[in-house]
Structures are given as structure tokens and as C-alpha cells.
């Protein structure tokens, strides 16, 4: 069951903030966030495990609400280098289940 991401695309000016949402209709064990630049492989940003934790990576942070089966990625004071497509990936349980990705959110940061 693929997670649903929103918005599909967003355009920001440098320094602006953005939130990307990821939701699932099924209970989740973990949510992963990856960023992919054009023509490159997805690059890992962070993992959130059930327990409602929040994590941060410089000016990029995320939260996971396991009751709502939702995660949000927060990009603060965006930089040009943040441009790319952001994918959330979800795992249904801690066993050997594959990571299933959403359709992605294309983020463009302009000067």
C-alpha cells in the first residue's frame, strides 16, 4: 500500500519554509525520507520509528504521528541545494518488509 504525499510540487524562494506530508491508510512501523536530485539516486535523509518521535538534520526535520499514520517533513529557511524530489517510504512492520515509496514531492527553491 503506497503512502500518499502532498503537495505534489512546491516552489519556494530561498529562505522560505515548506512542509511535505506523507500519510498511510495502514499502521506503520517506520517512515523514511529520501531526497532525489535529477538523474541521481535517492539519498537518505532520516528514519522515524513508531513512537511519535521527531528528528532533525540541520534545517530539515520530521515528525511521525503513528496514531494518524502520518509523517511530515519540515524544511526551514530553504537553500537552493534543497531542490529535488522528496520521497517518503513506509514500512508496515519491523520484519523483512520492503520500503514502499510515495509518488514524491518536487521541491524547487529559487533565488
Amino acid at each position: 500500500q503506497q503512502p500518499v504525499q502532498s503537495p505534489q510540487a512546491v516552489i519556494l524562494r530561498e529562505g522560505e519554509d515548506a512542509v511535505i506530508n506523507c500519510s498511510s491508510s495502514k499502521a506503520l512501523y517506520s517512515v523514511h525520507w529520501y531526497r532525489q536530485k535529477h538523474g541521481e539516486a535517492p539519498v537518505f535523509l532520516m528514519i522515524l520509528l513508531k513512537g511519535g518521535e521527531q528528528k532533525g538534520h540541520e534545517k530539515i526535520s520530521a515528525s511521525f504521528n503513528e496514531k494518524k499514520q502520518q509523517s511530515s517533513l519540515y524544511l526551514t529557511a530553504s537553500q537552493l541545494s534543497y531542490s529535488g524530489t522528496y520521497f517518503c517510504g513506509t514500512e508496515r512492520h519491523s520484519g523483512n518488509t520492503p520500503l514502499v515509496f510515495g509518488k514524491g514531492t518536487r521541491l524547487s527553491v529559487i533565488a
Binding site: Q2, Y29, S30, H32, Q36, E40, A41, P42, V43, F44, I47, L49, F87, G89, E91, H93, S94, G95, N96, T97, P98, L99, V100, F101, G102, K103, G104
Partner: protein, 114 residues
Amino acid sequence: EPEVTQTPSHQVTQMGQEVILRCVPISNHLYFYWYRQILGQKVEFLVSFYNNEISEKSEIFDDQFSVERPDGSNFTLKIRSTKLEDSAMYFCASSDWTGGEKLFFGSGTQLSVL
């Protein structure tokens, strides 16, 4: 940082031909995956592999696809008789555990079926 290596970076083939995409996962990793991404679309799961056998596969991974770990380092994806719709970027990934463990992706093989 250790890397997942994929070869070739580009592969062009005629419809109906067999192709083998190669991957060298990170050496101490135990779980291996193939994903594909059609241009501009999401990254789709194909198959996961652990302990020398397929642990899970998607509906995309039909009888035309197979995976193998022929030796201690390589992990291959074979498409027996390629179709036009197999054209995509194929990513190999590996992880040292499963369940809340990050995937390391290779740089991908762009497959074009003519």
C-alpha cells in the same frame, strides 16, 4: 562512505532481448533490493533478497524477472525478454538490517528498450 555500485550505467537493448543488470552491494550488508523508476514517476519496489532467496516481490516482478547472487559480492537482476515498458532507471539498494534501517542506493542503470 561505502557505496553500492551498479553496472552498466546505461543499457540499450532491443525488445525481446535478455538483459542482466549488475550490482555490488555494500560488503557487510545482508538485505538486497531492486527498485525501478520510470521517468518522472515514483520509485517502485521490485524485489527483496535475503539469505540467498527472494523474501518479497511486487506484482511487477513477474516470471520475466529473476535475481541472483552468483558469488559473495554481486547481485544481479535479469529480465528474460524485455518489453518497451521495462524502460526505466533500475536502482539496486542494500541494508545491513531490516525494519527501520536505511537503504543505500546505487546510482542506477538506465535501461532503454527499443
